[in-house]
């Protein structure tokens, strides 16, 4: 028996008990809208004793009887119920009994599973530094998974759920992020319907799609020949050019905004989509050129030389040999450029005043006023996010390639 080993076991149990209780309590609150005050102390105690029992039974393995985790689960449940006077979430049993039951099961199962994963092979006797560090890392990873998943998912969950609420319910209880099916489907999506009918979002969606696709086309048309020249043809200044393309990434858009605003205002290009379609490709071409030339360099030059020998012109070589071989790279560049153009905010915000040609980003900003209710703003955010996320999930392989290949731009 080593006090340090017992302390480590106890600490693991305490940590998981408290964390599981806070997470599950908050989730319960958000799902039911009832304020659950999670009994963190009781939960910590339950986790602590559960962990001790788990390691004790685990050391005594081979003696027959139920597995150690079953003892652990029973102890966690009993201690939690006793220490919290049968009210682990400080809610009376009559309030949302099904959800409370599920939360209780989730707590016991979650704590037991976490302890089982973290404290496998642990014992009360002396443990080597290696064994202890394995346990530290398991704990850190477990906490990391929970925390990362929550901080990433929570804002998106809030975005979607808020957009499905009505003004009264939002004001009455900001904690209630459940889906209220009683108002029917039309009630649920009312914010979306109003955005499309009264706030012209259908048009913004079309404009955004048009601007993004046009940016992709222009970018590819200009950057494919440029990238080919940089990667395949020999000319003075080639190496310098290949390196300095990266520098253009680093020019901040905000420095360009004032001169472009001034000049475009005088040329009458400011409040037009043409203006946007001049600026967007200029910001995406360096990225596209850099990504494509890297890919072109990796293609075997012999194929192109064979094409040249067989009488194809350079243009023929590019069209018939290089481009078909580079389809994956073209796909990732296109998706990446599409994403940049779709998400672009600064120029759309500065240049566009006319609601007929608002892009989605610009349209969502116009919802950010005290006269427009919150759920409309969130519904606008959902409309702007969903197409990008769908494309991203659909083509994740290409996009991740694109993101790592050349996209240090942010």
């Amino acid at each position: 028996m080593r006090p340090a080993s017992i302390l480590l076991t106890a600490f693991t149990g305490l940590l998981w008990g408290v964390m599981a209780m806070v997470v599950i309590g908050v989730t319960l609150t958000l799902i039911t809208g009832e304020v659950a005050l999670p009994q963190a102390t009781a939960a910590g105690l339950a986790g602590l004793l559960g962990a001790l029992v788990f390691v004790w039974r685990g050391s005594a393995a081979g003696t027959g009887g139920a597995p150690a985790w079953a003892y652990c689960a029973v102890v966690v449940f009993l201690v939690l119920m006793i220490a919290s006077f049968a009210g682990p979430f400080s809610l009376p049993l009559s309030v949302a009994p099904v959800w409370q039951g599920l939360a209780l099961i989730a707590f016991v199962a979650g704590v037991t599973a976490a302890l089982r994963l973290c404290l496998r092979d642990a014992r009360f006797g002396a443990m080597s530094r290696y064994e202890r560090e394995v346990i530290y890392i398991r704990i850190a990873k477990g906490v990391g998974f929970v925390v990362f998943t929550i901080i990433v998912a929570l804002p998106f969950y809030v975005m979607v759920m808020t957009s499905l609420k009505s003004q009264q319910t939002l004001l009455a209880n900001p904690l209630d992020l459940s889906i209220d099916f009683s108002q029917g489907l039309s009630g649920l999506v009312r914010s979306y319907v109003e955005l499309f009918t009264q706030f012209n979002f259908g048009r913004y969606l079309m404009v955004s799609a048009f601007v993004s696709v046009a940016t992709v086309v222009i970018t590819l048309l200009l950057s494919v020949p440029g990238a080919y020249a940089v990667s395949r043809l020999r000319f003075p200044g080639q190496a310098l050019l290949a390196r300095s393309v990266l520098l253009i990434y680093m020019v901040p858009a905000i420095v360009l905004v004032i001169p472009l605003y001034a000049v475009f205002s005088q040329l009458g290009l400011r409040n037009t989509l043409t203006g946007l379609l001049i600026v967007y490709p200029a910001t995406t071409i360096p990225v596209a050129l850099y990504m494509l030339q890297g890919y072109f360099r990796g293609l075997p030059a012999e194929l192109e030389e064979a094409g040249l020998m067989d009488g194809l012109s350079r243009i023929g070589v590019i069209l018939k040999i290089t481009l078909p071989l580079s389809l994956p790279a073209l796909a990732s560049v296109s998706l990446y450029v599409f994403m940049i153009a779709w998400n672009e905010f600064l120029f759309a915000f500065m240049f566009l005043d006319n609601p007929d040609i608002f892009t989605l980003s610009r349209g969502v900003v116009s919802l950010n006023s005290s006269e427009v209710p919150r759920q409309h703003l969130m519904a606008g955010a959902v409309i702007a996010t969903v197409p990008v996320l769908v494309i991203f999930l659909w083509f994740e392989r290409f996009l991740v390639q694109g993101l790592t290949a050349g996209s240090v731009k942010g």
Partner: protein, 434 residues
């Protein structure tokens, strides 16, 4: 060079460029020309123009060039054929500072309006009216009155004087192109008290935002390094903050952290963690004291930095994960045999292998965080002690309508940036190939 010249000329390699190579060169230049052109016009041009504007006294309103505004109306209220009426042109110089030269008004006299009296300087050829007005002073106003009688046709038409719009042309100095310079913009921004606090906030934001994103990314990469069921799903999920439009996630954070109707504050107050809601994006600082020393915690700035780290950790996560998966596993097996503990393996094997990508990411993200405008602008609008240099460009140039001062701040941004970029090129590890 010296090796080449020491060789006998006749046996040296062919000098200059052969015809085929020349053709290749021209083809390359031709293929690069559109890229060059657009970058010259949209990136290099504005960069230079920014320096130009920063030394000019330009207000946002000056962008509309000075012009003579004209308003045409019919006076005298003719009711029957033969009644006399007056066509009146009211003219005004839109600028209070610039004169306009060679002003000429052109219009079509409406059908059925028989002109009886022409004002001075005006000529009528058929129905085409041309009035030569000449040079007008700043803030000048005048009226031109065209006397005449009306016919049946004129009376029958609905507002016949609107049939053709009068056109006024003239030349004026453009404040953007003249040669009037001032250093007032720079002296104004440097003498402002807030400038130095803006600079300080910029550096806090850049350093901690970059560091936070890197540390989170490193941690997330460790989580997803080993295979387990559901890894693909989690990897996709972890990229969401970076892939989503900034506008959507920024407003979601604003809604989530709202002091009155936000979910987070409701949770904190209802569960009794805090007694009053916290205005995460609106409160400049929380004051507290440690051992009697009063200290301030910059709340809004911290929240904004947290957003920055949250939004950009996926990028560092992707790069670090890609690098980690390419590390040879033999090394770890050897270390394992030698009894290295997991933390020792991480510290002495993984981290040194990741140093290259980490430093590249740090430098690039540092520059990009420094350049960032959208995030802070959407979250706080630069209020509550979160105004960075980039937000200050907008604040000066557009919120305060002083384009020149905005451009001056942009020059400061650019100068700081060039310093970073020089350092970056100097110290970037070459082997990462970024």
């Amino acid at each position: 060079m010296s090796a080449e010249t020491s060789q006998p000329v006749s046996e040296g390699p062919p000098k200059g460029i052969g015809p085929m190579q020349r053709r290749e060169m021209w083809l390359a230049y031709l293929m690069l020309a559109p890229t060059f052109l657009i970058i010259l016009v949209i990136v290099a041009g504005p960069l230079l123009a920014n320096f130009w504007i920063s030394v000019k006294p330009v207000q946002l309103g000056d962008l509309r060039p000075p012009a003579v505004l004209v308003n045409e109306r019919l006076r005298g209220g003719p009711e029957a054929t033969g009644d006399s009426a007056t066509l009146e042109y009211r003219l005004r110089n839109s600028s209070r500072k610039e004169e306009i030269r060679d002003v000429v008004l052109k219009d079509e006299v409406p059908a059925g309006f028989a002109v009886t009296g022409l004002p001075q300087g005006c000529e009528l050829t058929g129905s085409a009216l041309t009035c030569t007005i000449g040079t007008v002073e700043p803030g000048w106003r005048d009226r031109l009155q065209l006397e005449g009688t009306v016919s049946e046709e004129f009376l029958a038409a609905n507002r016949p004087e609107r049939a053709s719009e009068p056109v006024v042309t003239g030349d004026a100095n453009n404040v953007l192109t003249n040669f009037e310079f001032t250093f007032e913009n720079f002296s104004r921004i440097f003498s402002a008290d807030e400038f130095w606090s803006v600079l300080r906030v910029t550096f806090y934001y850049t350093i901690f935002g970059t560091g936070g994103a890197l540390v989170l990314g490193l941690f997330a990469a460790q989580l997803l390094h080993t295979a387990f069921p559901g890894r693909g799903v989690l990897r996709g999920l972890f990229l969401f903050p970076y892939v989503s439009p900034v506008i959507a996630v920024a407003f979601t954070w604003v809604v989530l952290f709202d002091p009155f109707s936000g979910t987070l504050n409701a949770l904190l107050t209802k569960m009794g963690v805090v007694s009053d809601p916290i205005n995460f994006f609106g409160q400049r600082a929380i004051e507290f004291s440690v051992f009697g020393i009063p200290l301030e915690f910059p709340l809004a700035l911290t929240t904004v930095i947290a957003f920055e780290a949250w939004r950009y950790f996926p990028l560092s996560f992707l790069f670090i994960l890609a690098r980690m998966q390419s590390i040879n596993t033999d090394m770890y097996e050897a270390a394992e045999m030698d009894g290295a503990t997991p933390l020792q393996q991480f510290w002495y094997l993984s981290l040194p292998q990741l140093m290259g990508i980490l430093s590249v990411l740090f430098l690039l993200r540092f520059i990009w965080t420094f350049n960032k405008f959208d995030d802070i602008f959407l979250l706080t609008g630069g209020n509550a002690g979160t105004r960075t240099l980039t937000v200050d460009v907008y604040e000066q140039g557009f919120a305060l309508s002083n384009l020149g001062a905005g451009a001056a701040v942009a020059v400061v941004v650019f100068v700081v940036l060039v310093t970073f970029a020089t350092l970056f090129i100097r110290f970037s590890p070459k082997e990462e190939g970024l």
